[in-house]
């Protein structure tokens, strides 16, 4: 589904990603871990199409297409979803209008008619259950005044509505208490299927107790320096990142 080949990314003169290789197939969950500043969020942004940096080398192939050629909106329509580390507050844009526009853009891309209002509201009600959102979103602006937990639930709620093929969850666990973490993780698990794939970016192993990954990768200084299965995450939890840093820095 996704093939990242020797991806190098620069922000101004600084190389942030120094040759990333990663393959994700349908049905898989990949966790990307790593210390602060290792390039995790830059990788997520590169996949979603935020263009505050230059891709200097390499390719991102998604279902055989070169992703870097596509606008962020076309990537989304093609089935890529980014769960934001810091969901943006947009005062004055109502949640309902926003979600309707998002769903109908996707439908239009597939040559489908806009969803009738009644069906849309029904779909909202149904998907709100995935992440246990009880509040009425109709009178609220996008993320405005949402608590940290609500913002993250809202991300997964949007994911549920848009049914992406490839979801990239950037630090979805940050700022969540244990109950909210469980709800968010359960939401992600409910949405798992053999047809879609998830990349979970996280600092901590804790989230991976709930969303069990098939593969764990450690990103450090712009490279994937170690890959393994879920046991790698446990090791990191016990020993921290220092042993990996030492290993890498010694080689260098």
């Amino acid at each position: 589904m996704l093939d990242i080949k020797d991806l190098r990314v620069k922000i101004e003169d600084k190389e942030i990603l120094k040759g990333i290789n990663l393959s994700v197939r349908a049905g898989e969950v990949h966790a990307i871990m790593g210390p602060n500043g290792s390039g995790k969020s830059t990788l997520a942004s590169a996949l979603a199409g935020r263009n505050y940096f230059d891709i200097t080398h390499g390719k991102i192939l998604y279902e055989g297409k070169d992703l870097t050629e596509l606008t962020p909106e076309d990537r989304a329509r093609a089935g890529i979803f980014l769960g934001f580390q810091y969901p943006v507050e947009i005062p004055g844009v109502s949640m309902v209008n926003f979600l309707r526009a998002a769903i109908n853009s996707k439908r239009e891309y597939r040559g489908e008619k806009p969803l009738p209002a009644g069906d849309f509201l029904k779909l909202m009600r149904e998907k709100k259950k995935v992440v246990e959102i009880n509040s009425d979103l109709t009178n609220r602006s996008v993320n405005e005044g949402f608590s940290g937990g609500e913002k993250k639930k809202n991300e997964i709620f949007q994911m549920a509505l848009l049914e992406p093929k490839l979801a990239i969850l950037d630090e979805t666990d940050s700022g969540l208490d244990i109950d909210a973490l469980r709800i968010v993780a359960n939401g992600v698990n409910k949405l798992r299927s053999p047809e879609n794939a998830t990349i979970v970016i996280t600092h901590y192993q804790r989230l991976l107790d709930y969303i069990v990954p098939d593969f764990v990768h450690v990103l450090y200084k712009g490279r994937i320096v170690k890959s393994g299965d879920k046991k790698l995450a446990k090791e990191l939890e016990e020993h921290g990142y220092d042993w990996i840093k030492q290993e890498v820095d010694l080689k260098a």
Binding site: R50, T71, E73, V88, I90, V93, A102, S105, K106
Partner: protein
């Protein structure tokens, strides 16, 4: 002959225009109006048009516009205007007293020029009101907007032919809004000076909507003055929607005087028009008065909109809350100069002002100048002004959900405008204006899309 005319300054041309047509301009006026005209022209002679370097007009130089070739009617002119070519305003009120002002003159075919409603409300043409209620009119006309401070008010006082008069007697709550539609329709380039006078006595409420439109593609130059008196405990909601075509220039002068514990909300929404200058002066004379000033303009191409506002706190315990916003596309330009003036005795004043602008291109320009003049010591005042672009983080967030960049921009602009629009009190009007603004942002609003005349040549 032509040579001598061309050597005259623009100011001199207008003085000459007045003097040679004095009889015709003041034909039928009672003495107090004749006096006002003379005072007006004398003040104008002293000030002349604001000079290019004049601080208050430095972003909008109007003299060259007034120097253009415009015809001017010294008395109401018959215009071939078929009422069957029904004009449907973009803001059709479900139920309102609709008054049409055609080229500055109250248009009332087959109907009386002034209506006296059952509850004592008087509404209709100012010219007729001057004739029938000289005492009522003379108590206010030329007294709220000072003749000697503002060249365009002076000029209007000298030349104005007509406009709308509204009188709400003590204790009366108007059941329906008054909608004034200023129409411009001519077979040549035309200048219009019109004058409105709204008087709300004690304990009254009224809602007035003013819509400015053009019905023919000629160049129009409008210099409009509205004088507004809001009595004790009265509540006025006044909204102006400017939607003239982009070959027209409009100067509006709105002077509002508020008495004790009165409330006034003034809104100004500008969608089209080539060059627009809005002067708003709110003076809270009575203790405990409150006011809200809303402004929103959405402009593109080479449009220019300049707002000059003075909010005067002349008594203690008054509050004012001003929010002006602008969205500028293409090579459009805008200016905002907002003065808040707190008199020495106006303790416990609360005055807030915000001016926020979005530039959509590198070629659009906005100048903003907040100005506080505070002479009392126990006051709460704040002001803030911003000129920026659309929030890239918000745009990316919307795009990342599959919404196109264009649509995302529209959503953010809509949201930006909502801040002001949400404060329009009457729900049906708010919805209608919100819809219009949405259309304007999407480029779907040809100004005349509801007009049967289709004179738009853009």
């Amino acid at each position: 002959m032509k040579d001598t005319i061309e050597t005259l300054t623009t100011t001199a041309k207008y003085l000459e225009l007045f003097r040679t047509n004095r009889e015709q301009i003041g034909d039928g006026d009672p003495d107090f109006v004749k006096d006002l005209r003379e005072q007006g022209i004398r003040s104008f002679e002293k000030t002349g048009f604001p000079a290019r370097k004049a601080e208050l007009y430095k972003h909008t130089h109007l003299e060259p516009v007034f120097d253009g070739e415009f015809s001017f009617d010294f008395s109401p002119r018959k215009i071939a205007f078929d009422d069957n070519d029904l004009f449907l305003c973009d803001v059709p009120m479900l139920d309102a007293h609709v008054l049409t002002v055609l080229n500055g003159v109250f248009h009332h075919p087959g109907k009386s020029a002034l209506h006296e409603l059952d509850n004592g409300i008087i509404v209709g043409g100012l010219r007729e009101a001057i004739r029938r209620y000289p005492d009522l009119v003379s108590a206010h006309l030329g007294k709220i907007a000072p003749l000697d401070k503002e060249a365009f008010v002076s000029l209007n006082t000298a030349f104005a032919q007509d406009g709308i008069f509204l009188y709400v007697p003590e204790g009366v709550q108007m059941d329906k809004p008054v909608q004034i539609i200023h129409l411009l329709l001519s077979d040549k380039n035309q200048m219009v000076h019109h004058r409105n006078l709204f008087v709300l006595e004690k304990n009254t409420t009224a809602q007035v909507i003013i819509c400015d439109h053009t019905l023919s593609p000629h160049m129009f130059l409008t210099n409009s003055v509205s004088e507004v008196s809001v009595g004790e405990h009265a509540d006025l909601d006044l909204l102006r929607l400017q939607n003239e075509h982009n070959n027209s220039c409009q100067v509006t002068n709105t002077w509002i005087r508020q008495e004790r514990a009165s409330h006034c909300q003034h809104g100004n929404i500008t969608l089209h028009g080539s060059m627009v200058r809005n002067n708003l002066h709110v003076k809270m004379e009575g203790e405990g008065a409150s006011s809200r000033e809303l402004g929103l303009f959405l402009i593109d191409k080479l449009q220019h909109v300049d707002s000059y506002t003075v909010i005067e706190h002349a008594s203690p315990n008054c509050t004012s809350d001003q929010h002006y916003k602008g969205v500028l596309d293409d090579a459009s330009t805008g200016a905002f100069h907002g003065r808040i003036h707190v008199h020495p005795n106006a303790q416990k004043t609360e005055a807030f002002q915000a001016n926020n602008n979005i530039l959509l291109t590198d070629t659009a320009r906005m100048n903003t100048k907040p100005q506080l003049e505070i002479y009392a010591d126990d006051v709460k005042c704040s002001h803030g002004a911003t000129v920026g672009q659309l929030d890239e983080d918000a745009l990316f967030y919307l795009q990342s959900r599959g919404i196109s960049r264009d649509e995302s921009r529209l959503m953010l602009m809509d949201a930006f405008a909502q801040d002001v629009l949400s404060k329009i009190k009457q729900p049906s009007l708010r919805d209608r204006i919100t819809d219009l603004v949405g259309k304007r942002l999407r480029g779907e609003l040809s100004r005349c899309n509801n007009c049967a005349m289709h004179c738009d040549e853009e």
